[in-house]
């Protein structure tokens, strides 16, 4: 279906359907997309895509039959199932969760539009059909597991707000259970208040008929800490665009990820950290293994504004190419306007280290086994901070991936 048809038939469904301000805004954004009215200079959201292709999808969304659930494993462990973008409204001493209602349109309109002319976010705005508010109350110590269940053929356009109140300590996990042919365009707005410590792990593993566009925009206040790790084992297309704003002193943010690609798979990653306050530390690390005909892009950007003195910002990207037919593009960018800073970036792309392979082979380990050892050691350091359950998920995924490597 063309983009125009999708717009005419589906832009007035489910959320905010009788709100004129929103409908006008959608009309405006729609025109912008149709007229391709984008600043193409340094706009990574437009790289390697054609706008008309992006608009061609079969919009499909229906209220679900299955009920979303929230299960409390114990006082501090929550498992939340989001079914086709809808969750169960719930509140207790630690947490408040509810779906978007028509009354929330102001919040939606006023959200931080710092996503730099991103076409995926624009499409998300036009077709928005679900959204969830998460409120994590102050002083809570929680583990939250968020499971995104999407049924066959569904197109989910979701806008979520997560507010971590002062001094909370939370480990948030995102799992994507996508069935077939689904499109998930999910935009997170995350606010981390003073002294909050957040660990956010994102596990992406689904079949190749699905597409996931995951965008997050995090604002960190004074003394807060936000650590994000994405693990992409998907056979389907994934776009991970993550932005973090360090707006309070002594805040730190780290955006890390690894991806494991094979066959004709592709993935696009971007991390962007904006330092607006003094004494903040940031870290961006992406690692990838590419096999067969896969290709990956990684854009990273560290921006240090002129009043963000005493900043430390680090970037690193590493790619291993296993065959001659895969390709990796990396663009680690630094934009610095303050003088008292320590910023660095590094980027390497290459094959598996021959001498390491030789060392292992000479000790009687066969080539396959040796390759597996080297590749697992490549991401070893990223697994250290995981709890045992997550580590188990990752190591299962990793061994599946390794077993699929061509045996030669």
């Amino acid at each position: 279906m063309t983009f125009e048809n999708n717009f005419i038939n589906h832009s007035k469904e489910y959320i905010f359907l009788d709100n004129e301000t929103i409908l006008n805004q959608r009309e405006k954004v729609f025109k912008k997309i149709i007229q391709k009215n984008y600043d193409k200079k340094n706009n990574e959201s437009l790289k390697n895509i054609t706008i008309s292709e992006l608009g061609k999808f079969n919009y499909f969304y229906k209220p679900q039959k299955e009920d979303p659930t929230i299960s409390l494993i114990d006082n501090s462990n929550y498992e939340i199932r989001v079914i086709n973008g809808i969750c169960k409204n719930y509140e207790d001493d630690n947490i408040e969760i509810r779906n978007f209602t028509n009354l929330d349109f102001k919040r939606f309109l006023n959200q931080d539009k710092n996503n730099f002319d991103d076409i995926i976010i624009d499409i998300n705005n036009v077709f928005l059909n679900s959204g969830i508010f998460f409120n994590i109350k102050s002083e809570s110590r929680l583990n939250i597991r968020l499971i995104h269940d999407t049924s066959d053929n569904f197109t989910i356009f979701q806008n979520n707000f997560i507010n971590f109140k002062k001094n909370c300590e939370v480990q948030l996990e995102d799992h994507f259970h996508l069935k077939h042919n689904s499109i998930n365009n999910i935009n997170y707005n995350i606010e981390v208040e003073e002294d909050a410590i957040i660990k956010h792990n994102i596990f992406q593993n689904f079949s190749n008929s699905n597409k996931l566009y995951l965008t997050s925009n995090t604002v960190c206040k004074k003394n807060s800490s936000y650590n994000q790790n994405t693990y992409n084992f998907s056979a389907g297309f994934v776009r991970n665009f993550h932005h973090a704003h360090l707006n309070g002193e002594f805040a730190n943010a780290s955006l890390k990820g690894c991806f494991f690609l094979k066959d004709d798979n592709a993935c696009t990653n971007k991390t962007n950290i904006i330092h607006n306050a003094e004494n903040c530390v940031s870290n961006q690390t992406y690692k990838g293994i590419l096999n067969n005909h896969s290709n990956a892009n990684y854009y990273s950007n560290t921006f240090v504004s002129e009043n963000a003195q005493k900043t430390e910002g680090y970037q690193l990207s590493k790619g291993i190419l296993l065959t001659d037919n895969c390709s990796f593009f990396s663009k680690p960018e630094l934009r610095i306007f303050a003088d008292d800073v320590k910023c660095s970036h590094g980027s390497t792309i290459g094959p598996v280290d021959e001498s390491a392979l030789y060392y292992l082979r000479s000790r009687g380990i066969n080539k396959n086994q040796a390759m597996k050892m080297i590749i697992s050691s490549f991401i070893e350091e990223d697994l250290k901070n995981l709890d045992s359950e997550s580590a188990k998920i990752i190591s299962n995924n990793l061994s599946d991936y390794l077993n699929s490597l061509v045996n030669d």
């Binding site: 790619g319 680690p332 960018e333 003088d339 008292d340 800073v341 980027s347 290459g350």
Partner: protein
């Protein structure tokens, strides 16, 4: 920033451009603006054959359809191409002087002010100078000596007359005129520049040098340089620039093409010190240069070294296309920006052949209100087996009004190729400063010493003749505002 620093900053911010003066020579120039007529006029003035004129007109037609590239991190007003003179030659040079004594004494004086007395250089330094004053080559020295070896070193206009087969074959072969609008513009209106041909198995015994000079107000300089190193040859080429102080922006869009055949090596060094504009950002030269080298044969090597201290706006990416197997590309750069200067400079290494290697060392120093960007592209194509790249780009910031940007593009399509990229940005290390101050150096001397150390890796790549001048330039540029 401590008070001493800001005092020194103020003191040196007053420093005027040392090479700012205007030589009063009547310039012979046609009307402003660009159309087919002016191209025919230039071509006629140069007594060019018809194929050359047609080539120019063809490029002009291409240019008409193109827009200026917009992706650079630069801000400047739109260039009015109809407000520029495209040809200007000092009067009385219709017939070229045979030797220095025939040259207008005023010109010689200008060079003396710049510290490059032709006669002295001829004797002392052993450098052959193809000096370009505005658009006509004034004097070419040491030509005879070079001719004995079969080396051709002359202006491009002369080469079109004397070596049309080489020009025809290679002109536009590395930088196609349709590449981008500046290359098309240059191809249409280029007035002068150097041509070098080194025959097979000849090592050029001296460093070839050209001194560019922009003089007449509002005259764009469109230099075209073509260097061809035949099999097994070697040449080192120096280019230095300095221009008088002017209030209106001057446009400069040069094209430099290098071609290295089997086992040949070309070393191209630049010191650029054009008028950067005054302390309020008024005036200064717009420098849009396209430099590209093609390592065509096996085992060939092209090395770019540049020291960029001048120009209000610099847009320059000396690149290497590593086509021959085992070929090597190198890029060493120091870029210093001060006041309201903007520089977007870097390199592009395209690995096509097997076992190709490239190395990029870039040092950026930003002072005052300037913006300094490194933009580099390293790409490995499918067949570039075992290719290798190492990139290091470091930036130094002095003061909190300037910006340093690093924008590398890394693209690998070959799994045996290895690319390594490192970059860092920092201010001058307090410990090093403290150490130097303790040993009795003034604040300014200490900074100068540290910055010189920072640039050393690049400066040492310059040939002897240039190293002194380059070091002088670095400290002059620093003096402008380092405290």
């Amino acid at each position: 920033m401590d008070t001493e620093t800001s005092q020194t900053l103020d003191k040196y911010a007053q420093d005027k451009y040392k090479y700012g003066f205007v030589t009063e020579i009547d310039s012979e120039k046609p009307k402003k603006g660009l159309d087919e007529k002016i191209i025919k006029f230039i071509s006629n003035k140069k007594k060019e054959p018809e194929w050359m004129l047609n080539w120019r007109l063809n490029c002009y037609k291409k240019w008409l359809k193109m827009n200026d590239p917009q992706w650079a991190n630069l801000k400047f007003p739109k260039i009015d191409y109809q407000d520029i003179y495209y040809y200007s030659a000092p009067k009385g040079f219709e017939k070229k002087p045979k030797d220095l004594s025939e040259v207008d004494p005023k010109l010689i004086e200008t060079y003396n002010k710049l510290g490059i007395p032709l006669e002295e250089q001829k004797v002392l330094a052993g450098v052959a100078v193809d000096a370009v004053f505005d658009s006509v080559s004034v004097a070419t020295t040491y030509k005879g000596e070079l001719e004995k070896l079969g080396i051709v070193f002359c202006s491009i206009s002369e080469a079109i007359q004397t070596h049309p087969e080489l020009v025809k074959k290679y002109l536009g072969s590395v930088i196609p005129p349709g590449d981008h609008s500046f290359s098309a513009l240059n191809s249409a209106v280029f007035t002068d520049g150097s041509f070098v041909y080194i025959p097979e198995n000849v090592k050029c015994p001296m460093e070839l040098s050209t001194y560019f000079r922009i003089n007449a107000e509002e005259t764009g300089q469109f230099e075209r340089t073509l260097i061809i190193a035949d099999k097994g040859s070697y040449v080192s080429y120096l280019e230095g620039c300095t221009a008088p102080q002017r209030d209106t922006n001057q446009l400069h869009a040069a094209n430099v093409e290098l071609i290295a055949l089997e086992n040949a090596e070309i070393k191209y060094s630049t010191v650029q010190n054009w008028y950067p504009g005054d302390e309020d950002g008024k005036g200064g030269i717009y420098n849009f240069v396209t430099k590209r080298g093609l390592c065509k044969g096996k085992n060939s090597k092209i090395s770019w070294t540049q020291v960029e201290t001048g120009s209000a706006v610099t847009w320059k990416y000396p690149s290497c296309i590593l086509k021959g197997d085992n070929s090597i590309g190198e890029f060493y750069s120091v870029a210093i920006t001060n006041n309201f200067q903007q520089a977007d400079t870097g390199t592009k290494m395209t690995h096509i052949g097997k076992n190709t290697r490239s190395k990029i060392i870039s040092k950026g120093i930003s002072l005052g209100n300037s913006q300094n960007t490194y933009r580099g592209n390293v790409s490995f194509l499918r067949k570039a087996d075992k290719a290798r790249n190492y990139t290091q780009c470091d930036s130094l910031l002095v003061g909190n009004k300037c910006g340093a940007h690093t924008i590398p593009y890394i693209d690998s399509k070959n799994n045996s190729a290895i690319v390594e990229h490192e970059a860092s940005t920092s201010k001058i290390n307090e410990d090093q400063l403290y150490y130097c101050r303790q040993r009795g150096l003034t604040h300014e001397e200490a900074v100068s010493l540290i910055v010189n150390g920072f640039c050393k890796q690049v400066l040492q790549e310059l040939p002897m003749e240039f190293a002194v001048e380059a070091q002088k330039l670095v400290s002059i540029s620093l003096e402008g505002s380092v405290g």
